[in-house]
């Protein structure tokens, strides 16, 4: 029996492999995302193990909730005290700053996006567990002002050798620096900086540059003597620590830092896993289809096996065995492809600055297990439906000429499908509009259920469409059109299952198109409504930059006034709370409309709050808002409530000085420049000069600002489209497969048609028309569902400020057109195959 199953598998290997393609892709996505995130994890862990001491002593609130160093520091005197703790070999103070960008020999900033540009002080303290930390490979360590050491990779990327002068651009108060490169350092224990850049100065210089010249440190490493564990040392250190200072073991600190970073890039793996899911769902449709057709073609053979004494179970399992082998083959290929994919992702992310080239790909056994489990289970589950039907083949059918495989009732399918779709809609509505935990899962599973439900019900639902298509074809193409239309109606399950594969990809593409278009329209509208001043200075993704930029711009010829806005995150009742801040007398310049209270000028330690936030939180003028900030708990009085305004990014607005006092670094996120009357000519160029050498900081007028805000949306949509393109490829293969199989199934009919005078061109036209019906059906279903999902999603997001719903009709029409092209292309091979059939042999086939 096993031999019979394997033989039949080998006989159809090419066709089966085609239907496995989706499994291959799905497994590849799973593998790729696992390998990539393991690699990332290993790389980060290796890095952070080398960047912590045995015990790290730091001020509580020494970093903001976003991980950047705050202005909270430790006094130098504490170091001596820590060095005297029993079990401590030594204690070393560290100075750390972010936003210290190296400018390369071409005047461009190295890195810039994503991974941090770190600056700090050089010290030769060993990392935790006696690991050698950063070690000078070439040259020497920095000893005096004007000297710097760079990490090897950064020096190489920037093109500097020992002895060169290295310019820097920073987002600290000192906009520009330069220093002589005296040494190049490397982590002796391996571990890549993952694209971060590292510039280290001598301690006094670092303190001067980053800590206003005070003799303080951001944190202190305490190194354990031999035989003292990190935990023991941490315990002892804690006994001598003053209030507001904490000690953590190096292991904990490294884990913390690594997991923060991993979380920041986890969207990437989530993204890949979602697409793995999509291609597996689409793939399982194709496998159901392929196995249904194969089983139907072989029903006589299977009946013969039954007549020869095989049990129902044996026949069913012989089909399942084929699925098993297919799943194994697909998973193996997918596994290999996934490793390549991970390599590809690594290359792509390195172009965004996340450079993992120092870390080999990590291939955990779990990845292999997951790949095979996913691939084999999905294949076997998908083959189960057709396999189960074989049990209903009676042995006597081996003796009959025409064996019809019994099929379940379409009506039952219709109701089951509709029920599933309704349940999916309910889950979707719950996820979108009700307050349920894990709303994302509700939405995702809801969408999946709707898609599967519609796919199940579509043999009945799409009958009017197929009927209309047949009529239209008959009118346009005569007998050939009629034949093609009839063929698509002949087995509505097969037609619609094939179309469903395309439907899924297009549903998601349409949803994305609507969400993207609406987001862009929202951006345009809110920019148009709230743009104040003449120019906006900003950095990509609202990143921070040096306050010196605003200061210098104020002095530029033709500038009437400059308004700065900055952001910070505190915690309120344990949740992150974003805070905006600006200068006290600029509430008016921001164009805010106060509905209650007054805020001109805004006093320190007070806030004005957004109207909708005030309503949600039940906060009114005179109340106090309590926040956890780097300096500890802060209580700010609410002095006013303003109408929601998108230019204030977060619902709380306070003064710049308030944020500085709360321990946030002195950085701006946006600067609004007002021009003097009649000063427009050449002003933008003059402003641009100020930021000419700053990383990713740009000066934009209203149109430019809107375009910049739209850009990340465009990029995201484009990336999603690229991945959905893969779903499209799978769907095309599905159509090719179905057509090819049905041509084989209809060999005699094709022979008959050719014998009575159907020309090859007419035959090709017939198959192309069949293919186009399938593709257009899938596209129509997908477009309708996608539009529905997109609009529903946008309605749900209305509260989040995305209040414009825009349906890109042109784009949706383009999708339909693409579907027709896809249909025509998918038919090329099956049509050629049919046209090449030897008429005589086709007639003789039984």
């Amino acid at each position: 029996m096993i031999r019979a199953a394997l033989k039949s598998l080998l006989g159809r290997k090419l066709r089966l492999l085609m239907s496995t393609f989706a499994i291959v892709l799905g497994v590849a996505f799973v593998t790729g995302s696992l390998v990539f995130s393991d690699t990332l994890g290993r790389s980060f862990t290796a890095l952070f193990a080398s960047t912590v001491g045995d015990v790290v002593v730091r001020p509580v609130g020494g970093t903001t909730t976003q991980g950047a160093p705050s202005t909270q520091t430790l006094p130098a005197a504490l170091i001596d005290e820590l060095a005297d703790v029993p079990g401590a070999a030594r204690a070393d103070g560290n100075v750390t700053a972010v936003g210290v960008f190296v400018v390369d020999t071409y005047g461009k900033v190295v890195g810039g996006l994503g991974p941090p540009a770190l600056g700090g002080n050089w010290n030769d303290a060993p990392a935790g567990h006696g690991l050698t930390g950063l070690t000078v490979q070439e040259g020497r360590e920095p000893r005096r002002s004007g000297e710097v050491v760079l990490d090897e990779r950064t020096a190489e990327r920037a093109g500097y050798d020992v002895g060169d002068r290295v310019p820097f651009v920073t987002s600290t108060e000192r906009l520009n620096l330069d220093a002589e490169l005296v040494g190049i350092a490397e982590f002796a224990e391996g571990g890549s900086l993952n694209g971060a850049t590292l510039a280290q100065f001598d301690t006094a210089t670092a303190q001067e540059l980053f800590l206003e010249g005070r003799d303080v440190y951001n944190d202190v490493w305490v190194t354990a003597e031999d035989g003292v564990s990190q935990e023991e040392l941490a315990e002892r250190v804690r006994e001598v620590l003053p209030e507001g200072v904490e000690a953590v073991t190096g292991d904990d600190a490294a884990d913390e830092a690594a997991s923060d970073l991993l979380e920041a890039v986890s969207f990437l793996t989530t993204f890949l896993l979602i697409f793995a899911g999509i291609s597996l769902v689409v793939g399982s449709f194709l496998i159901v289809n392929t196995f249904s057709i194969l089983v139907a073609q072989r029903s006589r053979e299977l009946a013969l096996l039954r007549a020869l004494g095989a049990s129902k179970r044996q026949v069913t399992w012989s089909v399942q065995l084929e699925a098993l082998v297919l799943g194994l083959v697909g998973s193996s290929v997918g596994l290999g492809l996934g490793v390549l994919l991970a390599q590809g992702i690594r290359a792509v992310t390195s172009s965004f600055g996340l450079d993992l080239s120092g870390q080999g790909l990590v291939f955990e056994p779990r990845t292999v297990v997951a790949a095979y489990a996913v691939g084999v289970l999905v294949t076997m589950a998908a083959a189960w439906l057709p396999a189960r039907r074989t049990a209903r083949i009676a042995p006597v059918q081996a003796l009959r000429d025409d064996v019809a495989l019994p099929e379940g009732s379409l009506r039952r399918r219709l109701w089951a499908g509709l029920a599933l779709a309704v349940a999916g809609l309910a889950a979707l509505a719950a996820g979108l509009f009700a307050d349920v935990p894990r709303a994302g899962w509700w939405v995702g599973l809801g969408v999946l259920a709707v898609l599967l439900g519609v796919a199940a019900a579509s043999p009945v639902l799409s009958r009017p469409f197929l009927g209309a298509a047949r009529a239209a074809y008959a009118r346009a193409f005569g007998a050939v059109g009629n034949l093609a239309g009839q063929n698509s109606l002949r087995n509505p399950r097969r037609t619609t299952a094939t179309a469903s594969a395309l439907m899924i990809g297009l549903t998601l593409a349409c949803t994305m198109a609507i969400v993207g278009d609406s987001a862009k329209a929202t951006v345009d509208e809110s920019v148009a409504e709230s743009f104040v001043g003449d120019y906006v200075v900003s950095s990509a993704f609202g990143g921070e930059f040096s306050p010196a930029i605003a200061d210098r711009m104020a002095e530029v010829d033709g500038v009437a006034s400059v308004l700065r806005e900055r952001f910070a995150f505190g915690e309120r009742d344990g949740d992150d709370q974003g805070i905006s801040a600006t200068d006290p007398d600029t509430v008016d310049d921001l164009g805010l409309t106060l509905v209650e209270g007054s805020a001109d000028p805004l006093r320190d330690e007070t806030v004005v709050v957004e109207e909708s936030w005030a309503e949600d939180e039940g906060v009114a003028v005179g109340d106090t808002v309590t926040l956890d900030l780097p300096t500890g708990e802060a209580r700010w009085e609410v002095v006013g409530v303003f109408e929601d305004n998108p230019i204030v990014f977060f619902p709380l607005l306070t003064t710049v000085d308030t944020l500085l006092a709360a321990g946030f670094a002195d950085r701006d996120n946006y600067v609004v420049v007002d021009a003097e009357d009649g000063a427009a000519a050449g002003l933008q160029e003059r402003l641009e000069e100020v930021v000419a050498d700053s990383p990713v900081v740009t000066v934009k007028d209203e149109a430019g600002f809107a375009a910049e805000q739209r850009e990340p949306i465009d990029q995201l949509v484009l990336m999603i489209f690229a991945l959905l393109g893969l779903a499209l490829v799978i769907a095309v293969l599905g159509i090719v497969n179905t057509l090819a199989l049905s041509v084989i199934e209809r060999t005699r009919e094709v022979g008959l048609l050719r014998a009575i005078g159907l020309s090859r061109a007419q035959l090709r036209l017939m198959i192309t028309l069949e293919s186009v019906v399938i593709a257009v059906l899938g596209a129509v279903l997908g477009t309708v569902l996608g539009t529905f999902f997109g609009v529903a999603l946008m309605r749900a997001l209305r509260d989040e400020g995305l209040d414009v719903i825009s349906v890109p009709v042109g784009q949706l029409a383009a999708f339909l057109l693409v579907a027709v092209v896809v249909g025509v292309l998918a038919a090329v091979l099956p049509a050629r195959r049919a046209a090449r059939l030897d008429v005589l042999r086709a007639i003789a086939t039984d």
Binding site: N482, Q486, R490, L752, I756, G757, L758, S759, Q762, I843
Partner: protein, 244 residues
């Protein structure tokens, strides 16, 4: 006698090579007279099917000529042969004659609609009436009996007024009553409308409906009967199968 509907000249076709060489047709020459009902008979492997396939433009010979009317089939490309099959030749096969997705009526007019022509209504009605399926035209083939299906196939073969109708064992899958109906239909088309019909068969009863029986053995024409009856046919068949 009128101009022949088709002429076969020195037709030779072999399969395989060396020891396994089979001469399916060995220098066959034959005239198929217009308005005549001809049967081609012979033991299996005698080349009768190959001969028919070559005459009908379904198969190509190694050498020799097939002329349908004045046109040399062996000199045509696939496109021309397809058109010739569509316009000048009608087919009735042993089984699987009809496109399952089309109704009986649509199947009958299929060769015409493939050509983009409308059937001559009078002729269509006449054919349908002869075949006796007036009330079944809107049924799908799966709703018709085997005999009915074959009659639809005959109607389809006749409707385009082809020069020749080729029938390949048209009664092979039918019970004797349905078979007789189909054979009478073919006979009537010859008598009433001067249709040329060539039928491959191994059934002496079927052969008795024809005007002429051509016997093939080992790829050669070995015997011919005019106005045959069943006994004569059986006698020739017995002689041919007797050891030489």
């Amino acid at each position: 006698m009128t101009e022949p509907a088709a002429r076969v000249r020195h037709l030779t076709k072999t399969y395989g090579s060396g020891q396994a060489l089979v001469r399916a047709l060995d220098d066959v020459s034959l005239d198929l007279a217009a308005g005549e009902f001809t049967a081609v008979m012979g033991p299996s492997g005698s080349g009768k099917s190959t001969l028919m396939h070559c005459c009908a433009g379904l198969d190509t010979a190694d050498s020799g000529q097939v002329l349908v009317g004045e046109r040399d089939l062996t000199a045509m490309g696939d496109k021309e042969v397809t058109r010739l099959r569509r316009d000048e030749i009608g087919f009735v096969f042993q089984s699987f004659n009809l496109v399952p997705t089309l109704t009986a009526g649509e199947n009958i007019t299929l060769p015409l609609s493939i050509a983009g022509r409308r059937p001559d209504q009078e002729w269509y009605d006449a054919v349908v009436a002869t075949v006796g399926l007036g009330d079944r035209l809107h049924h799908k083939p799966s709703e018709l009996s085997g005999g009915q299906q074959q009659r639809v196939a005959v109607a389809r073969a006749l409707v385009s007024r082809p020069r020749i109708v080729f029938a390949d064992e048209p009664t092979g899958n039918l019970d004797s009553r349905s078979g007789a109906e189909v054979l009478e239909l073919l006979r009537r088309s010859v008598d009433d409308h001067s249709q040329t019909v060539v039928m491959v068969t191994h059934d002496p009863v079927a052969a008795a409906y024809t005007d002429r029986v051509v016997f093939l053995a080992d790829g050669r024409v070995v015997e011919e009967l005019r106005r045959p009856d069943r006994e004569q046919v059986l006698e020739v068949m017995a002689r041919m199968s007797a050891p030489a």
